[in-house]
């Protein structure tokens, strides 16, 4: 029987669409990033600069839609989901068809995917500046858009797997492994981290609260980096680098190890975003240790990329595509070395909350993602629009502008981050007080901040050259479909799930993992037994591998001939890490996780203020987490009875607000006790008038601050009507609000607003554009204003009630730290005596 032949036409139209969209959104996303960067240097960039460029037509101290807190999420979402997302889809659609020798399964789905994704981006671009946000990083989009994202991801997944089913190539190439991992893992991460309870069409609360929300958030956040910005781009690297270099891939076995190690290990590393916080220590250790384990697998990807270029180095001088690829892979290596370094708890103590992290992210995003994108675009453009690249020298110029831009950017962030980290922990000669005020450290890094904007500007300029180049190439070329003749392949994908699972390699791996997990959680002594079994299993599998290496590798070769069992195994490998960290934290009951402090419930007005805090994006610059570190405690929690933040202090927070960057100081101890003779009004570290003046003009109260002014908060009214719905949702989520009627809720909020407004009027608060109001009028005006709600929240942040306990931590299953407490009890007593 001779194989049937058929002629297929690749769907390059979708590739062209995705690529053009990526370039378009890339320019916008980077432009927004540049604006955000300048805002950190000059507060006027938050809107006041419009006065100058509109010749006085626009008049305000700031414009809500473009404040840093709102456009920083716009920037991150735009570059991740719009720029890299569309670039990834272009690369996946192009290479998958060729690696499968089949056209994408459904033109309808391809088109739906493209237009659906662009509509989501448009939705994000409209809602984020309007302050409609879920308040979780890279997961800010409101719930209707979340549903749309999931639907579009399913459309993408169906289209992709359907193409795999229809493929005319028996075996799956490495790129496809990475694409599969991307699709299944992102689906899992995105859905779990976006589970929320809507309170209106544009607002919802995440179902997780406090530490659980933080854990889920960074399980997602870290792995968005892993499975959205890394694995698909590695897949793209494995296809486009050998294509462009016309050289074989360096090592197949390196691909295998690298692939499985990344997919399995990455997921565990999320807690390294919460090191030294109130997160239980065993998860911090898992986060740090698995991050260290990521170093070698990540470098394996770099090696496979760089060493594939071996023998093609001479082309680097002339071919901009290879230049971009070589630099991108090098930046990948740099960023994946820096990542494990930053996740060492001691290093993280200095680097976390500073610009070092920002620099690290950008060496990945600008260097790895941006340069891989550019290399791919320049390689694809002449092929998608038959012809030649419009200008090679322009592409070379893009390369050098981009390279200098990245180097300036990352170097500036290293300097800024390390300088600020060191200054924040520097003490006076007495060793008992800190040397610098927070704002002094901010002023010191003013020059690196400007250099960062300059570097970012150069990078954007280079990218605009790329856009022009691709546009001209497309205009001069012809977009004609590419046809190839292929053999139709039947009789593929014959392996059953049983065959895929019941064999030495898989069984040993699963058994060893199970015992490793038992080792974390079993009580004292049983854990050691579990460790012993794990080690024996590892030893046995190494011996078996030595003996049957041919069978073991044949098994894998057969596995990649069969997409379904392969996909199931990938999903398992990617799901384990998250399950081990998240499920115990959901099961261990909340009462034993509070560390003797339970958050004081918000009043309705304070909740409204908190939602404003989230909506304005305050969490982009302010943390609410005093880490178990001396400089943090000295700066933010010095009173002997307060100290570092405990788990219970944020247990009812949906979403959690621990933050990830301190452009301003931590706020965890801003709140305070009820004011004298007040019913609900609290006065914390600072009084109401201070906050009032601070929101009006941050530099009046904190000279040298770069915080934007918030003039619109003084006019806009607090939304009292939505409060009952929000409180009902929180009750459903387990926040013990007292039973209050709609009227009681609104009345309580209005009363508290009036209390604060009265205190402000009495203290002499003054609104420049309402100067004619009498005291009574001013009080009534202020009582309903958003600034009052926000002040009420500021005066409440971090307040807690002490829970009586015997001081002993109950020993619990699924809580390794509790075993250790029991175990350490004896030596502790000795030191006390």
């Amino acid at each position: 029987m001779t194989p049937e032949k058929t002629t297929i036409t690749y769907d390059d139209r979708s590739v062209r669409h995705f690529m053009s969209a990526s370039i378009f959104w890339g320019v916008i996303g980077m432009l927004v990033g540049l604006l955000a960067a300048t805002q950190l240097s000059w507060w006027q960039m938050n809107g006041k600069f419009l006065e100058a460029i509109s010749f006085g037509l626009f008049k305000a101290e700031g414009l809500s839609y473009i404040t840093f807190g709102r456009i920083r999420p716009l920037h991150t979402n735009a570059v991740i989901f719009a720029f890299v997302g569309n670039m990834m889809f272009a690369g996946v659609y192009y290479s998958t068809q060729r690696l499968c020798k089949a056209r994408m399964a459904s033109d309808f789905l391809s088109r739906l995917h493209f237009w659906g994704w662009q509509s989501i981006i448009l939705g994000a671009a409209l809602t984020l500046p309007a302050g409609l946000t879920r308040g979780k990083e890279y997961a800010e989009l409101i719930w209707p858009l979340n549903i749309a994202v999931v639907l579009m991801w399913v459309v993408f997944g169906v289209n992709f797997f359907w193409t795999l089913i229809k493929r005319n190539e028996r075996s799956l190439y490495v790129s496809l492994w990475f694409y599969i991992a991307t699709i299944v893992t992102i689906a899992m991460l995105y859905i779990v981290n976006h589970l929320s309870l809507p309170t209106s069409l544009v607002h919802s609360y995440p179902i997780f609260g406090g530490v659980q929300d933080g854990l889920v958030q960074w399980w997602y956040g870290h792995n968005a980096v892993a499975f959205f910005l890394t694995t698909p781009i590695l897949g793209i690297m494995y296809y486009f680098v050998p294509k462009a270099a016309e050289r074989p891939v360096y090592s197949y076995r390196l691909s295998i190890i690298h692939f499985w190690a990344l997919v399995f290990i990455y997921i565990w590393a999320g807690p390294h975003h919460l090191l030294n916080t109130a997160l239980p220590k065993w998860m911090q250790y898992l986060g740090m240790l698995f991050s260290l384990m990521l170093w070698a697998p990540s470098w394996a990807g770099m090696l496979n990329g760089l060493l594939t270029l071996r023998g093609a180095w001479d082309k680097l001088r002339t071919d901009p595509v290879l230049k971009f690829f070589a630099a991108a892979v090098t930046f990948y290596g740099m960023a994946t070395f820096e990542g494990p370094l930053l996740s060492i708890r001691a290093v993280n103590a200095l680097s976390h909350y500073t610009d070092w992290t920002v620099g690290h992210v950008h060496s990945g995003a600008l260097g790895w993602n941006g340069f891989m994108a550019a290399g791919m675009f320049y390689w694809l453009a002449p092929r998608l629009w038959k012809g030649k690249l419009w200008s090679t020298s322009l592409a070379n110029m893009h390369f050098w502008l981009g390279l200098v831009g990245i180097l300036l950017y990352t170097a500036a962030m290293w300097v800024a981050g390390i300088t600020q980290g060191l200054m924040l922990s520097q003490t006076n000669p007495d060793g008992a007080t800190l040397k610098y005020e927070f704002v002094e450290t901010l002023q010191t890094i003013h020059v690196p901040y400007m250099l960062r904007s300059f570097g970012g500007g150069l990078y954007l300029l280079g990218f605009i050259l790329c856009a022009i180049n691709i546009f001209m190439t497309a205009r001069r070329g012809i977009a004609e479909p590419m046809q190839v003749e292929v053999m139709i392949l039947k009789n593929k994908d014959r392996m059953t799930l049983r065959e895929a699972f019941i064999n030495d390699p898989v069984c040993h791996a699963i058994a060893a993992l199970c015992f490793m997990i038992l080792w974390f959680f079993l009580p004292t002594h049983a854990d050691k037994a579990a460790l012993l079994v794990t080690l024996l299993l590892v030893y046995r599998s190494v011996k078996l591998f030595k003996k049957n290496s041919t069978q073991w590798s044949d098994f894998f070769n057969r596995l990649i001939d069969n997409y379904l069992p392969f996909t199931v195994l990938i999903f398992l490998a990617a799901a384990i890490g998250g399950a081990v960290q998240i499920i115990p934290s959901l099961l261990v009951n909340k009462a034993s996780q509070v560390e003797e402090r339970v958050q004081t419930l918000y009043t309705p007005l304070e909740l409204a203020g908190r939602d404003l805090y989230i909506s304005e994006g305050c969490y982009n610059c302010h943390s609410q987490m005093i880490r178990t570190l001396v400089p943090d405690v000295m700066r933010y929690g010095p009173l002997p009875d307060q100290g570092y933040s405990r788990l219970g202090e944020s247990i009812y927070d949906h979403p959690y607000q621990w933050g990830s960057k301190r452009t301003g100081p931590d706020l965890a101890r801003e709140g305070g006790i009820l004011a004298a003779e007040a019913k609900q009004m609290r006065i914390g570290k600072r009084d109401n008038l201070w906050h009032f003046n601070h929101f009006m003009d941050p530099r009046q109260t904190s000279p040298g601050s770069n915080m934007p002014p918030y003039p619109w908060l003084f006019d806009a009214k607090t939304d009292f009507k939505s409060l009952p719905q929000k409180i009902a949702a929180q009750r459903t989520l387990g926040v013990p609000w007292p039973a209050l009627s709609r009227d009681e809720i609104e009345q309580s909020a209005r009363d508290q607003g009036m209390e604060i407004a009265s205190s402000l009027v009495k203290a002499g608060a003054f609104l420049p554009d309402q100067a004619k109001l009498s005291d009574d009028q001013l009080r009534n005006h202020l009582a309903e204003s958003q600034v009052i709600a926000l002040i009420s929240y500021m005066q409440k942040v971090g307040t807690y009630d002490v829970v009586e306990s015997d001081g002993k931590r109950p020993v619990k299953w699924l809580d390794p730290d509790s075993h250790r407490t029991q175990f350490r009890a004896a030596p502790d007593k000795n030191t006390q005596n």
Binding site: L254, K281, A296, E440, L531, A763, P768
Partner: protein, 224 residues
């Protein structure tokens, strides 16, 4: 069971074979023109990989099974206890040599101390008490609006007029039993600043309000 010796099929060419024979194996399959070598993993790479893998059980066993190292709570509590001790010692030492006379006649007359105090005042205190100590801010429109703090240039010293009292007030903040000024209560700056800085601020305030601060003749004599 077959052993490699009596195996009739030729050994497939894999990386081990290649390293033995000194040649590079290229895998037979080709994907859209892409081929793959099957080279051995570099030894230095393996060393990094195994070292990081090994570090995991070592640290975990050390911390959770053998009880090495203090927990974060133990560590921070003992460190902060030391700091609190140093802080109260420094305060006691300063208080021992501080009285109205020393503040007024020595510190407030030391130009260096006054200058340092002014610097500290402008950085930390002017947000609430104004740069000119009037506790008022003049806006662009010409209105003068109050700031949260009390004026420090009107001859009024709400919490007691002695020089030493000013030091205590700044160090400890608004007294706990006092509702403060319009609800505004000053924080305990002693938590943030060493006693020396606070003394300098007091020296600056005295030097700007010389009429308000005189050593009362009935007081105990100054330190010998």
């Amino acid at each position: 069971m077959s052993t490699p010796l009596n195996n009739t099929t030729p050994e497939p060419r894999r990386a081990e074979y290649a390293s033995r024979e000194g040649e590079i194996v290229i895998r037979p399959h080709e994907y859209d023109g892409i081929q793959e070598y099957d080279q051995m993993l570099p030894n230095w790479w393996l060393a990094i990989f195994f070292a990081t893998l090994l570090f995991f059980p070592l640290l975990w066993i050390g911390y959770y099974q053998l009880g090495f190292m203090k927990s974060d709570e133990e560590k921070i509590n003992s460190q902060m206890a030391l700091i609190e001790k140093a802080k109260s010692k420094a305060l006691d030492e300063m208080l021992a040599k501080l009285d109205d006379d020393a503040l007024i006649n020595q510190w407030a007359k030391d130009p260096a101390a006054v200058a340092n105090g002014k610097e500290t005042y402008l950085a930390n205190c002017s947000a609430c008490h104004a740069q000119d100590r009037s506790a008022k801010m003049v806006l662009a429109g010409g209105q003068s609006i109050p700031l949260p703090g009390l004026p420090l240039n009107d001859g009024q010293w709400k919490y007691g007029a002695s020089a030493l009292r000013q030091f205590q007030l700044i160090n400890d903040g608004t007294p706990a039993d006092n509702p403060g000024h319009n609800g505004a209560r000053m924080e305990a700056w002693g938590q943030k600043m060493p006693p020396l800085k606070i003394v300098e601020v007091v020296a600056y305030l005295i030097s700007e309000n010389t009429k308000d601060f005189v050593v009362s003749t009935g007081d105990a004599p100054a330190n010998p």
